[in-house]
């Protein structure tokens, strides 16, 4: 892996009010350097919002006109500290972001969403190279080779010149992973990237992602306790209203774990209990 110096990230004093309703207040959590941190919780609890704060993405959607939105106000009181403040119409949000290497996070993160977000008019290869296109980096043969190499490593070399509509949903999400890897950033933010896949494809993708994302600082948002157990070096559970965060849960062994391993059974029970999921009907 090329990136060995992925920073740790501390998000603190995060608060979010949506339509006068407090979703969370004074939350803090740390993404361990070079590790996968899973944020597990039911939908609507504000997991995605925490990810979007880290990525400085708009919180309340982009409104009617998608191309023109109010960006987050970003303050830098200290060199190692970033205060993000959103004041969109219904959303008031504050958070502090620190990185362990004191460098800003901006421009050092890659984002993988729930859907593949491949542009339908571009070939898979061009989609993988989208970041360079958007940053006006001239297209060079070495970059094409690099992109082809990444596509090969996710098993899509033969489909490089196909348009996304010719691919299955699993292949599309592997394409999205290839595009994320092409960005070659130390920090990866993943918002339920495998939730739209069928169980078999999802399992494959989890294994592949754990292998490809070694040494990177990863935030993986999920509502699937088994996914968290397979992939997370550490797991936080976000639940309640206003939401609060559990202490970090650190299962034994290295991801991708075999969730049928007996050593994980108590962790499965713990996660289900913390999510208030009843295990049997009685």
């Amino acid at each position: 892996m090329t990136q060995c110096h992925s920073p740790g990230i501390l998000l603190s004093k995060a608060s979010l009010r949506f339509n006068q309703k407090i979703l969370f207040e004074n939350l803090s959590f740390e993404l361990a350097a070079g590790k996968i941190t899973c944020l597990l919780g039911p939908s609507g609890v504000g997991k995605t919002t925490l990810l979007r704060i880290l990525a400085s993405l708009p919180l309340a959607g982009r409104g009617e006109n998608k191309l023109q939105t109010l960006p987050a106000t970003v303050k830098k009181p200290n060199p190692d500290e970033l205060i993000v403040h959103y004041d969109e119409q219904e959303v008031v949000c504050n958070a502090r972001i620190r990185t362990s290497d004191q460098l800003p996070l901006r421009g050092r993160l890659a984002y993988m969403a729930q859907t593949d977000l491949l542009l339908p008019w571009l070939s898979l290869l061009d989609n993988v190279m989208l970041g360079n296109l958007l940053r006006h980096v001239p297209r060079s043969q070495s970059q094409i080779d690099h992109a082809m190499h990444i596509l090969e490593s996710v098993g899509l070399a033969e489909d490089a010149h196909h348009k996304p509509h010719a691919l299955s949903s699993g292949m599309k999400q592997r394409g999205a992973l290839a595009r994320t890897l092409m960005e070659d950033q130390p920090v990866i933010l993943m918002d339920e990237p495998f939730s739209a896949l069928d169980a078999i494809t999802r399992y494959d993708m989890q294994t592949m992602a754990a292998e490809k994302l070694q040494q990177k600082t990863v935030l993986l948002i999920t509502h699937d306790p088994w996914e968290a157990l397979r992939l997370g070096h550490q797991i936080f559970i976000l639940r309640g209203q206003p939401a609060n965060l559990s202490a970090p849960i650190i299962p034994p062994m290295m991801p991708p774990r075999d969730i049928t391993d007996e050593a994980l059974l108590p962790f499965q029970k713990q996660l289900l209990r913390e999510l208030d999921l009843r295990i049997s009907v009685t």
């Binding site: 006109n65 998608k66 023109q68 542009l119 958007l134």
Partner: protein, 253 residues
Amino acid sequence: MFVSRIQNFIINTGKTLLPLVFIVIVWQFIVVIDKLPPYILPAPLLVWHTLVNNVPLLFSQALPTAFESIIGLTLSVLVGMSGALIFTYFRLAREYLLPSLIISQALPTFAIAPLLVVWFGYGMASKIVTVMIMLFFPVTMTFYDGLIQVNENWLDLAQTMQATRWSALRYIALPAALPALASGLRLAASWAPLGAVIGEWVGASQGLGYLMLNSNARLQVDMMFAALIWLIALALLLFFVVDRGMRWLIKIR
């Protein structure tokens, strides 16, 4: 493969033409049975003769109309697309100008065409302006809708990739809005000759609209029909060119 494509083409053309042929036959029938005089309703055969015998006249009158349509259409596309971009990126323009622009569309172009002749003269300028007033709005609105409705998750992705405003527009919003723009342009292309003719009706010394008005005054209804057919052909030609061009652009985007 090739033969079956030719077959398909012939069958599809047949399907398109069949109702037209039927209408023409009924038309001829009515004229013959009712013994209608040609200054009320000329028989299709008479229109055909007029069409064939007056090719130089019709061509010379179609030329200015075609010129007005094409220039008007081109300018409408330029103004319309610029308008859409301005409304997309400038909130003040959107809040202050867009409502009055929509209200202005309630005003029929026909009603202000005489004014345009007063302001822009008897020549081609007033016709080009008429075409523009008719066409730029559908171009603006379809393109604007296409731009603002781009998938916001693509824009999120672009933002994390450090895209600039320009590159997000050029590589994401613009290609995404192309199909919407294409429907606006198709609409505009088929309306352009209509705009030119409306301008010519109000006051002109040449063009298909002028020819129609003149023929009408002399009860040469067959010539009116001949001019109409040229007008239809012009509209279809513009539509075809724009449609093909946009399909090509969508394919290579």
